[in-house]
């Protein structure tokens, strides 16, 4: 397939990988978070190109709208962000870069050289209805387990982020801390 679709693919790939590299190497953590936004958006575009429309919308809603906001909250609430040295010092740069580049080479070689049994017909069709149906029938058990997991995460996060002190402490006292 050539033409506009290929061009869009390469643009999205460049945006995704380029901003992912920026996430990894930028010294200021705020800039890293902003670059992460572009990575997530680019991955959502890649989902569209593989006819995963529901997943693209979910990616935008949950990653960009939820997880990135949580990360921004964590950045702003947790460190003296004005000084880069304090907020984000690095270490092991050279060995880590060597390991990652080597791993990237190995993975790319494996991906390119393996003859995957690719099926020839590429059909683009909406997947939302099918995903909903499968979640209610064949994948019902993982769906329910995921709901239990979300409940546990909710309770755990609320419990962890409470201020320290006795369980029956008055809320006004906690405000004063």
């Amino acid at each position: 397939m050539t033409g506009p679709a290929d061009l869009v693919f390469y643009l999205l790939a460049a945006m995704t990988v380029g901003s992912a590299i920026l996430v990894a190497i930028l010294p200021n953590i705020i800039y890293s978070a902003v670059a992460l936004l572009f990575t997530f958006a680019g991955v959502a575009g890649l989902y569209v190109l593989t006819s995963a429309d529901f997943l693209a919308a979910t990616q935008i809603l949950i990653y960009v709208g939820g997880i990135l906001v949580l990360i921004m909250f964590a950045v702003f609430l947790s460190s003296r962000i004005s000084t880069v040295k304090l907020s984000n010092p690095g270490r092991f740069r050279l060995p880590a870069a060597a390991v990652c580049l080597g791993l990237f080479g190995v993975l790319s070689y494996a991906a390119v050289s393996t003859p995957f049994p690719v099926k020839p017909v590429v059909s683009y069709q909406a997947s939302t209805a099918e995903i909903g149906e499968l979640l209610m029938t064949r994948y019902l058990l993982p769906f329910e387990v995921a709901s239990v997991l979300l409940l546990a995460a909710l309770i755990g996060a609320a419990l962890l982020s409470r201020p320290e002190g006795r369980e029956d402490a008055a809320p006004g006292k906690e405000e004063a801390r």
Binding site: F9, V118, V122, G156
Partner: protein
């Protein structure tokens, strides 16, 4: 537009996330690396589901991965805030109180 290109993109995302996890000392930046790695896995799931199996199962796996990532980010934020209240920083090297 073939399967290999998506796999190479997934590999690049994975390596960027790994680099962030290895080099960063700020816990929030390490969390960003974990998110990158989860996205790399999702790209691979969706690409294989589209090009090889032609079924929708890979996309459902990706949905579950996104759910896990959301839960993980919420719990991680709570842990970071608790860590910051306890030690005054979110550097992963400083959180060694339990070391024997």
């Amino acid at each position: 537009m073939a399967l290999e290109k998506f796999l190479v993109i997934g590999a690049a995302l994975f390596c960027c996330g790994l680099y962030a996890i290895l080099t960063r000392r700020n816990a929030v930046a390490v969390l960003m690396g974990v998110e990158l790695i989860l996205n790399a896995a999702n790209v691979n799931f969706v690409a294989f589901s589209h090009y090889v199996s032609r079924l929708i199962g890979g996309q459902i796996f990706a949905v579950f991965v996104i759910v896990l990532a959301a839960a993980e980010a919420a719990v991680a934020l709570a842990i970071f805030l608790r860590l910051f209240a306890t030690t005054g920083s979110v550097e992963v090297d400083m959180a060694d109180t339990l070391r024997g």
